[in-house]
């Protein structure tokens, strides 16, 4: 909000109070002057976030979750398996697969020929970790990264799997990760929601997304993820109608406040004051959101760092840059979704395009945060809903193959506050099929992030229909070795 608006706000508030006198209770008055908690969690004024304060000192104050929708193949990106090269074209031994269920797409396949990565791997950084040539920018910052190679999930299809990692349940209806954070910890910014969602598409024609992924579920709807979009209308209905400018809106809201204050005298319902605060908050958002989303003042070297896509609104790269700006505004949970990783066939070609669309910007984001000191209390997460299997879906040739869904292991990385740097956790077998050491289940992952934010995942609950729900259902344990 610019200075003029602030002055105007002050003025109009004083003006309004002067006119309404004792019409408003002192409680409402106090929260009107200190409206910071509006997005913080509860519909009634005066209440703070559900937890009041975190269970223990948080290492992470904010999260940027770069969700890679469709499931990137860890075997082409992160998890180096020379054995697949050695056994190219041979069947995945039954002793490895052990009759695990398959999706309907490969269940009918007569053989499971092992497919080696079409891309080369090399070692990087102090830890000499193996990374694919598809991620040159990511490779250069391995010393900042914490890899988990042993993520595993319960679902084998996209919808239940994404729903699972976002809400802790395969069925729709539970609150999203970010909603839990908003509910538990509230907002640190009086002008912005605690949970913001940014969307981008990579390769066209891939798997869709769904609004339930950032739904508040049974939590109060103030905790829903708010989609920020590129273009002139960044939040649904944010802009005043054409012809209504900010001062006109201010006049109208002042009169509305007077009307409601009069009304308060008649109906004596504190809900009126609450609603008036929401209008003021909406008014402030109208200024703060476009200001935050305005990339025009970013210097050229920043765009260069994030890559050419960052100049195109709505791309993953532009969203990464936006994510940094949102973090600067103390938005607690920024969730990006990037579509396009579902490579059942034609994988070598498609994954290259897709990886290129995210590699530079992901790395630039981490480095940008680092340079600004924000990485000290921000966590960046990069990963999808499950992995991909070691055998080819469809015909295997040297330069073309596909990979089906694989829930039993996959890789994600994290960077920033609270997690080890230059660290690789977990081991998979020579085929990248099974985990041999240190599994990290989705619920463990969720518990660990919660822990980093100062929340005991077993204690952040919401009672709904007689049951106390939590993000991790009745499971999950903090993976201590990941913690710095």
């Amino acid at each position: 909000m610019d200075i003029q608006d602030q002055i105007h706000d002050q003025f109009s508030r004083r003006n309004f109070l002067g006119q309404t006198g004792a019409g408003i209770g002192t409680l409402a008055l106090a929260s009107l002057l200190n409206p910071g908690k509006l997005f913080g969690g509860t519909p009634s004024p005066g209440d703070g976030p559900a937890l009041g304060k975190p269970h223990f000192p948080p290492k992470v104050k904010r999260v940027i979750y770069l969700f890679q929708s469709g499931a990137p193949s860890q075997l082409e990106l992160f998890d180096y398996k020379p054995k697949l090269e050695a056994m190219f074209g041979q069947d995945l031994p039954e002793s490895v697969r052990k009759g695990q269920r398959l999706t309907g797409m490969t269940a009918g396949q007569s053989s499971f020929p092992l497919a080696a990565s079409a891309y080369k791997f090399a070692q990087h950084g102090h830890s000499q970790m193996w990374l694919s040539e598809l991620l040159p920018h990511t490779a250069r910052m391995t010393d900042d990264l914490c890899f988990i190679r042993t993520m595993n999930t319960d679902a084998i299809n996209h919808d239940p799997a994404i729903t699972f990692i976002q809400t802790g349940s395969q069925q729709a209806g539970r609150p999203s990760f970010g909603s839990w954070v908003s509910y538990g910890l509230g907002s640190d910014n009086q002008n912005m929601p605690a949970f913001v969602v940014l969307l981008s598409k990579g390769r066209g024609g891939d798997q869709p997304l769904y609004a339930k992924l950032w739904s508040n579920g049974f939590l109060p709807s103030v905790h829903q993820g708010v989609v920020f979009r590129s273009g002139p209308d960044p939040v649904y209905y944010l802009n005043n109608p054409p012809g209504i400018d900010r001062s006109s809106r201010r006049r109208m809201l002042d009169k509305l406040a007077q009307l409601n204050a009069e009304q308060m005298k008649h109906v004596l319902d504190p809900e009126i004051n609450n609603r008036m605060q929401q209008y003021e908050m909406a008014y402030r958002m109208q200024a703060s959101v476009p200001e935050t989303l305005d990339l025009s003042k970013e210097p050229a070297y920043i765009f260069d760092a994030y890559g050419p896509d960052s100049r195109k609104p709505g791309t993953f790269a532009a969203n990464c840059l936006l994510a940094r700006k949102l973090i600067e505004k103390d938005v607690k949970f920024v969730q990006l979704y990037h579509q396009g990783w579902d490579q059942h066939g034609n994988l070598p070609k498609d994954i290259k395009t897709q990886a290129t669309s995210v590699d530079q910007a992901s790395a630039a984001l981490v480095q940008d945060l680092k340079q600004r000191g924000l990485l000290d209390d921000t966590l960046v997460i990069w990963g999808g809903e499950f992995g991909r299997g070691p055998y080819s879906q469809g015909k295997l040739t040297r330069d073309n193959y596909g990979r089906d869904h694989h829930p039993r292991c996959y890789t994600i990385w994290m960077a920033g506050a609270g997690v080890k740097k230059s660290f690789v956790f977990g081991e998979t077998d020579d085929f990248g099929y099974n985990i041999v050491k240190d599994p990290v289940h989705i619920h463990d992952f969720q518990a660990t992030i919660m822990h980093l934010m100062g929340v005991d995942h077993e204690k952040l609950t919401f009672k709904h229909q007689g049951r106390r729900y939590r993000l991790t259902d009745v499971h999950g344990k903090v993976i201590k070795p990941l913690l710095a």
């Binding site: 509006l38 969307l199 829903q224 649904y236 958002m285 229909q465």
Partner: protein, 1153 residues
């Protein structure tokens, strides 16, 4: 009162605890209580009640480990049943609860212990007991630890109506209960709301729309003592009543216009929505309303076709759940999910119980075992459905609805004609003249071969696999071989190999020469010529519509016992509901032939009763007579018919096309061997494929196997068997007898017309039972692939039991409906009454309308709830049972409902959330009400009821940002469909309308019976900025201003008051009048003087500003598609638009008061 500690508590402290009362401690031969508990004990009620005080504590803090879940009972302790709680534990020998003996009760020691290993609840649970709760438990034990049955599990009996000595306030029995409770709590009740508020309240509650200003005026003018009751009756008769009532029911029924899950394609569900609206409007008995939805397909079919269809449409209730189209899913997993959703919805919507908790384990809090859950689920498990639903075609089972009266008449006409043709055929087949013609043909046929048809007649494909050429394809060095097999019936359409061409399809020796083997990566296909959408039978020789007879014959040798899938098919695969035909090997080795529109229910599906032998060449033949009936299909092995059983005989529509000659994607729509859609099949060999565009008869098929002229042999055989005689007769009727052939051709033509006509009608998903019930198992941990014990359909063991039908038949959904509606069912009537109450008061008499179990709050007025439940269930006073409108009339005409909602701060604090109904109901209006209110007030509202869902204004790109296929683009509609009521707005589950979500509309993923009522900044943005609201403000302004201010027209030169020149905010009657009209339209009352003052000032300010900035005025007025009234000066209209918008955002436009 005092908490007396008796000397029986001789137990002494391991405890180091401190106590508040020294005097009390001095006694010393007493149980020691922690200080806080002691303090709390001083303020307890005289009599501690199990249901009221104790069970909420036990359930919430103890039952998770010591409750109904048999697998989780720690230390063998169960606290929800008295006998168990009173008995000594096997493990420790301790007695949890000794009635009357606190010190002897282990529970007491555990709850006051400070030892983390001892104290209960255990610290691991993250649960604790407050001092007051501990004191209550202790006092309850002291008073005898009496258990009582859970209130909601005992059928309601009509309670005695309290008779208040002050009867001045009460208007009906509802009020007598409310009055008595308020008296008991020493609370005062509010006076009646003013008439305008009351009319607005009841109009919004009964129709979802505000009263028109004229209705308000009429009501104010009506001085009759029953003026209000007359208004209520008018509203109950309004066609908008059904729309209002439907909103809540559609939340419970999780109605939506798309399938959900990730692909989220559109579905045709709106006829169900419209049926719900009509049912409420007609005041259909709640019994019928529920029975049809649960079991309309199992009731005797009505002879009235429209009613019969409605009974089926109602069953869509159980199809509203999400369904998945995603390629690659495991269908069985999703079938389990669908059954689960129906079970959960039945539990929540009808029983008010969270049965879903028992999906993975026994319920933690309520007496619902996992077995109960799956027994209940078994009622919903027999639907003839498939877990992966199509992109093209409404998933089956479904019912077809005519979209016009003329289509309905034509269909009726055609079907009647088909009935006549069938009757004629039956008559002909046994009539004397035909038999005579048959006999004479038998005599002459051997001499006249031209009375017999050629064996090659109708042969459209003939692939012996012995003749082939190999075609090289691709670049040098990477050459691949496509093997092309000659089609002796049509040399322009050969059969080719596809898939992996690196390895030519291998040959194998067969009984009739050289065959080929399917190895998995490649397959054989006969492609048609040209665009298949414009198919002709010559270019697409193996494409058959349901009215076309055909025959397919193929030598087959299955070598892989695991082969499951089609041996051959002309089938569009799962994305098109398996439309077409296929001949499958089933997992158990038997065979199945399917001819489908949308499999499995809209299909002919027959299975052999015997297995196909492995490693043996068999000539498989299937013939079909084009009647669209299962008995028109005959399966042969080696020339002889094989026994079959019919699984489904319900092919009602095209076997080629979706609606309007559509299909989804390409896939492999051609005749193929070794592939269906994009899945390959292997482990068998084939040879000598023949396809005929006619039905071969038994003798033809036999001859194909024996390579003999079986027909002539049979004719010449003087001692032929009855079977041979019948076969000859079939041949005669099929190929020779002109009258029979003509009749059959007529029938085929009729069936073709019917098929074409149906292509333009709509299908709606329904329930339809499988012929053979699907066995239901307990699913361990809820996982679809880990079945446990088998269960039979049954109801929860803790409720009234299902009567035995006595006929040995398994129980079905109709039995379930009857059980639900039986007088001894304790839940249904209460649950429904409570939700109706919630609709008016914002909360139910039992606040947790979604949980009538142990964890739900007790009803605030249990007797009133029971009274209303019994009234609904039994009727009385001249009212029929299950009469919904009568019940609602009773509620809204009560003095309780008619109270003012504006009460003093003290009164509000005394009954903070209006639990005791001491004031009138007020709540934030629903998303639908808020939008509909401004549409109605502005005059924009389109009053039309029902029809397909509509596409009003929506921010651009919402669907597009998420969807990648299948209804990707949101195409906004125009004209009056922009202004339909919100119940008709398209509901896409993956991208619901953001306006509605911002105002807490249910997401429609699962059954919701109570919406949130939150207040957020995003809501303010909607009502301030959504074009729908801005346009409505402008239209309201332009509708009001000319009437009031004719002088403001530019062509009127002599204004008495001109707001352009007289911006004075006060004293301007015209301005006052406009503001009053805005108020009356939007909040139903005229403005108060202070409101007029504020808004007059706003008008003046805005007018001045718009006059300075005419462009701003023009752009504001351009919002929305409704034409602008150009007669009005733009600055004035714009200023009025801002004022109207301000009133739209005012308290009473958002909050029902």
């Amino acid at each position: 009162m005092r908490f007396e500690i008796s000397s029986r508590y001789t137990f002494l402290s391991l405890v180091t605890l401190i106590v508040g009362s020294v005097g009390w401690l001095a006694g010393c031969h007493r149980a020691e209580l922690p200080a806080d508990v002691l303090l709390a004990s001083k303020t307890l009620p005289d009599k501690v009640d199990y249901n009221l005080h104790i069970k909420p504590i036990l359930s919430d803090r103890c039952f998770a480990c010591h409750g109904p879940d048999a697998n989780k009972q720690q230390a063998g302790l169960r606290l929800d049943i008295a006998e168990n709680a009173y008995a000594a534990l096997k493990e420790s020998g301790h007695t949890p609860i000794k009635p009357g003996n606190v010190a002897g009760s282990e529970l007491f020691h555990r709850i006051v212990s400070t030892d983390p290993d001892e104290v209960m609840p255990t610290p691991k649970s993250n649960l604790t007991l407050s001092a007051e709760e501990k004191a209550l438990l202790i006092k309850w034990i002291e008073q005898g630890a009496e258990y009582k049955p859970h209130w909601s599990l005992v059928a309601p009996a009509k309670p005695t109506v309290p008779q208040p000595y002050d009867s001045g306030w009460a208007r009906n029995d509802v009020d007598r209960f409310v009055w008595a409770k308020a008296k008991e709590k020493n609370l005062t009740l509010a006076p009646e709301a003013d008439k305008t508020t009351l009319l607005r309240r009841v109009s919004l509650d009964l129709t979802g729309l505000p009263p028109t200003p004229a209705e308000v005026d009429a009501f104010l003018a009506d001085k009759a003592p029953n003026a209000y009751e007359k208004a209520v009756d008018r509203l109950l008769q309004s066609p908008h009543y059904g729309e209002r009532m439907a909103v809540d029911w559609l939340d419970a029924a999780r109605y939506a216009d798309t399938h959900g899950y990730q692909d989220d394609g559109p579905r045709t569900m709106w006829p169900y929505r419209d049926w719900v609206i009509r049912a409420f409007n007609k005041n259909l008995s709640l019994k019928t309303f529920i029975t049809w939805q649960l079991a309309g397909d199992l009731l005797p079919q009505s002879t009235d076709e429209a009613i019969a269809r409605n009974m089926l449409v109602a069953t869509a209730f159980n199809r509203n759940h999400q369904q998945s189209q995603e390629g690659g899913i495991v269908p069985a997993e999703y079938e389990a999910a669908y059954i689960g959703d129906r079970t959960d919805t039945f539990g929540k919507a009808m029983l008010g119980l969270t049965v879903e908790c028992a999906r993975c384990h026994d319920h933690k809090y309520d007496p619902i075992s996992q077995k109960d859950y799956y027994a209940l689920g078994a009622f919903f498990a027999n639907n003839n459905e498939f877990g992966q639903i199509p992109y093209n075609g409404e998933p089956s089972p479904h019912v077809t609805l005519p979209t016009s009266a003329s289509a309905e008449a034509q269909l009726k006409f055609i079907r009647e004609k088909i009935r006549v043709a069938d009757r004629d055929e039956a008559t002909l087949a046994v009539s004397g003249p035909v038999k005579q013609r048959f006999q004479s043909w038998l005599k002459t046929a051997p001499k006249n071969p031209n009375t017999m048809i050629s064996a090659r007649e109708g042969l459209v494909m003939n692939i012996p696999f012995d003749q082939f050429t190999d075609k090289k394809e691709g670049d040098k060095g990477k050459q691949k071989t496509r093997r092309i097999f000659a089609n002796l019936a049509n040399d322009t359409l050969p059969m080719e190999t596809h898939g992996d061409l690196d390895h030519p399809i291998p040959f194998v020796k067969s009984p009739v020469g050289q065959g080929v083997t399917l190895v998995g990566e490649s397959f054989m296909e006969l492609k048609g010529a040209g665009e298949w959408q414009k198919l002709s039978t010559t270019k697409y020789p193996a494409w058959f519509e349901r009215n076309q007879p055909f025959t397919v014959s193929l030598w087959v040798n299955v070598t892989d016992p695991k082969l499951t899938g089609p041996l051959f098919n002309r089938n569009l695969g799962p994305f098109n509901g398996f439309r077409g035909y296929e001949y499958d090997r089933l997992a158990d080795g038997r065979l199945a032939f399917r001819l489908s529109y949308v499999w499995p229910d809209d299909a002919i599906d027959i299975e052999t009763t015997q297995k196909l032998p492995l490693n043996k060449w068999v000539l498989l033949t299937v013939t079909y007579d084009g009647t669209s009936r299962a008995n028109g299909v005959t399966l042969y092995a080696d020339g002889q018919p094989i026994p079959t059983r019919t699984i489904t005989d319900n092919l009602t529509q095209s076997a080629l096309w979706g609606k309007k000659r559509s299909a989804w994607g390409a896939g492999t729509p051609n005749f193929a061997i070794g592939q269906r859609h994009d899945y390959n099949y292997r482990g068998y060999s084939v040879d000598d494929l023949r396809v005929y565009a006619r039905k071969l008869t038994r003798l033809d098929v036999q001859g194909m196997f024996t390579q003999q002229d079986e027909l002539t042999a049979a004719i010449r055989n003087p001692k032929r068997s009855p079977a041979e005689e019948a076969a000859l007769y079939d041949y005669f009727l099929t190929n020779v007898d002109k009258p029979t052939q003509e009749n059959r051709l007529t029938r085929r033509a009729l069936l073709g017309r019917e098929t074409d006509l149906l292509s333009d009608q709509i299908d709606v998903m329904t329930m339809h039972e499988r012929k053979t019930p699907r066995p239901t198992f307990i699913l361990k941990r809820g996982a679809y692939d880990v079945p446990g014990d088998r269960v039979q359909p049954g109801v929860l063991h803790s409720l009234n039991q299902l009567p035995d039908k006595g006929n040995g038949k398994p129980k079905n959904r109709l039995d379930l409906a009857n059980w639900l509606l039986a007088p001894d069912n304790p839940l249904f009537a209460r649950v429904m009454v409570n939700r109706f109450w919630q609709q008016y008061f914002g909360q139910g008499l039992a606040k947790n309308s979604d949980d009538f179990g142990n964890q739900g709050a007790l009803p605030s007025h249990p007797e009133l709830l029971d009274y209303l439940a019994v009234r609904l269930r039994d009727g009385g006073d001249g009212v029929a049972p299950w009469n919904v409108k009568a019940l609602q009339r009773l509620i809204v005409t009560s003095a309780t409902y008619r109270q003012s909602s504006s009460v003093s701060v003290a009164a509000r604090e005394a009954d903070f959330d209006n639990t005791y109904l001491t004031r009138g109901p007020s709540y934030r209006m629903s998303a639908e009400q808020i939008r509909d209110n401004v549409l109605a007030a502005s005059g924009l509202l389109t009053q039309r009821i029902g029809g397909p869902s509509v596409y009003p204004y929506q921010p651009t790109g919402i669907w597009e940002a998420l969807a990648t296929r299948n209804a990707v683009n949101y195409t906004q509609s125009h004209g009056d469909t922009l202004y339909r009521r919100s119940i008709y707005t398209i509901w896409k589950r993956s991208s619901p309308p953001p306006m509605m979500l911002n105002f807490d509309a249910a997401e429609r993923h699962s059954c919701i019976v109570k919406r949130q009522k939150t207040s957020t900044p995003l809501q303010a943005l909607v009502t301030l900025n959504d074009p729908q609201f801005v346009e409505a403000a402008r239209v309201l302004a332009q509708n009001v201003v000319p009437v009031i201010l004719p002088e403001s027209r530019p062509d009127n030169r002599q204004p008495s008051v001109n707001p352009r020149t007289d911006p004075s905010p006060t004293g301007t009657t015209a301005v006052t009048t406009v503001i009053n009209q805005f108020f009356k339209a939007l909040v139903s009352r005229p403005a108060r003087p202070d409101e007029i003052k504020i808004l007059s000032a706003l008008y003046a300010e805005e007018l001045a500003d718009f006059q300075q900035n005419p462009k701003r005025a023009q752009t504001l007025l351009a919002v929305g598609e409704y034409p602008v009234n150009r007669q009005l000066p733009p600055a004035n209209l714009a200023a009025w638009t801002v004022v109207a918008s301000t009133v739209m955002n005012f308290d009473e436009a958002i909050i029902k008061r």
